[in-house]
């Protein structure tokens, strides 16, 4: 496995994870796009050293086709999910005017109770 690939996978993963912790869904979507690339690169590099195209009749050591098939499936799935997330962000934009992830019910309830406790 080449050092370039290793650094690339690490960089993509860390940038992706950083973006996912953001509050706005559009950043989260970009984060997942980067993480998806990192995962696909990791799959590709798990197949060992590169070689000639794995086609019957080609001469020489061929590269491993199995991880390429896996990576292709993963790319299709992550493409579809990116579109779904975009639709979700669009819907949130239409409903609330922004695409921020809102607090969950429990957080809001606890926040309300501490505020009320402070008043009394």
């Amino acid at each position: 496995m080449s050092a370039t690939l290793l650094i690339l996978i690490g960089g993509l993963t860390s940038t992706g994870l950083y973006l996912i912790t953001a509050r706005s869904l559009s950043r989260i979507i970009l984060g997942f796009a980067l993480l998806g690339h990192a995962a696909v690169l990791a799959l590709l590099s798990s197949g060992g050293d590169p070689g000639v195209a794995p086609i019957v009749g080609e001469v020489g050591d061929s590269s491993n086709p199995v991880p390429q098939a896996l990576a292709l499936t993963a790319i299709v799935i992550s493409f579809g999910l990116t579109l779904f997330l975009l639709a979700l962000a669009g819907r949130q934009q239409a409903l609330s005017g922004n695409d921020l992830v809102e607090d969950d019910l429990e957080d809001r309830r606890i926040a309300d109770e501490t505020e009320n406790g402070g008043d009394a």
């Binding site: 989260i28 998806g36 990192a38 590099s45 779904f84 979700l88 949130q92 409903l95």
Partner: protein, 495 residues
Amino acid sequence: MSALVTTTVLAPLICAALGLALRSNSHARDGVTLVGLIAAAGSAIALLIGVADNGTEVVRVGSWDPELGIVLVADLFAVLVLPVALTIIVVVEVFAIGQRRTAWGANPELTGPLLCILTAGVSLAFLTGDLFTLFVAFEMILVSSYVLLTHQGQRGQIRAGMTYVVMNLLASTLFLLGLAMVYAATGTVNIALAAERISELPDGVRLGIGAWFLVVFGTKAAVFPLFSWLPDSYPTAPTTITAVFAGLLTKIGIYAMIRFHTVTGMEELGPVMLILAAATMIIGALGALAQTDVKRILSFHIVSQIGYMLMGLGLFSAAGTTGAILFLIHHMPVKTVLFLVGGLIENEQGTSALGRSGGLATRRPLIAVFFAIPALSLAGLPPFSGFAAKFAVISAGIADSSTLVVVAALVAGGLTLLSMTKIWLGVFWGTASDDLADTAAPTSPGNRNMMLAATMLAVIGTLTITVLAGELFDLSQRAAEGLRAPAVYIAEVTS
């Protein structure tokens, strides 16, 4: 036999396509959906009978070598869980057809076909023999669940849907990275071949892979501390959809964990799993106590109950694995019925909030009975199926002298009973508040009878499991033996 294996996956997929094509004609669409679901459930039951008598059935898709191609493995563990799961979906679809003309119903044009796709994913997840197809099956289930959860586009659903989608997408990405690790370390994603080769790896690599997949499957299964997405998102969906999610989705995570970690022999992770199991049980049950809405209480109980299954797995003994499998079989229908009853309550009272409903026991005694049976079963009281399942898990824990987790299991059982009492007091006793008449959804008698009939079918199903507990225990024991002797599994898949 091999035709049965493929039917459980293909029949619902074909009917999903037909259902989408016929979506404007409600009778044809519902008919096609039911045919697909019943065909899958019927083949699963036939498979169970066949596999219990003749042993594991392996299907090589496209006749590829297991090293390269997809294998479907119908071993006893898979075919024990599969019929239960698929029958639940049929019952829920009948309930959904009855519920659809009420205010609480989901959009029928989408839910039928999507439920079919989800069913195909469930079958594939249970039957697959390789990790990458398991990933694809998870994605089939999750993508249809994302749409089912958010398709009405209401504000609460979008808010909860975001958390749900982001958490599950992160787990899926980690799954992919884990697959890359397994492939790099063993040169295969087939579970049997990988199990054989993982055992020869250095301890650090082996346990690293085990821990990584514990996180991946743990997020899907809502294990502490990765559960927070579940109680927030499930209650916002229409009841029928929540019932399917509650009965099946997290259980597939646990199923994958039981299969992967037992076959690859990750005994060293056992103590970690037991601590997580104890925390999951207690925190889930405490979370449920703090809630004031039927659906939210039940959602926290999903988390709590996952702890028992994780406990059975974490013991890594024959008795523990048997208990975990039996618990899985008991839990799926019981949880679904409780959510269906939640739907009935919502339909009668116009709300599932405890403070605003009441007095249902006198007005609709049948619903009270339908709630009481699975609720007592969930709390683990004899003679219901929950008692047999909890007894199996806890006695395995005592045999292993894991005091901490046994105490946690007993305490969580008590807390479960307490919050079931809370629902009983809030919904079935007392008097209803006056403003209910405004919000209650008017339902025609025909629709209501259909919903009641579906719920009754499901209650009878859970009682059947109670009656058959002895046979199911024996079968679970055989399935556990099969999992714990991976050499046999490996030989069956590769030969």
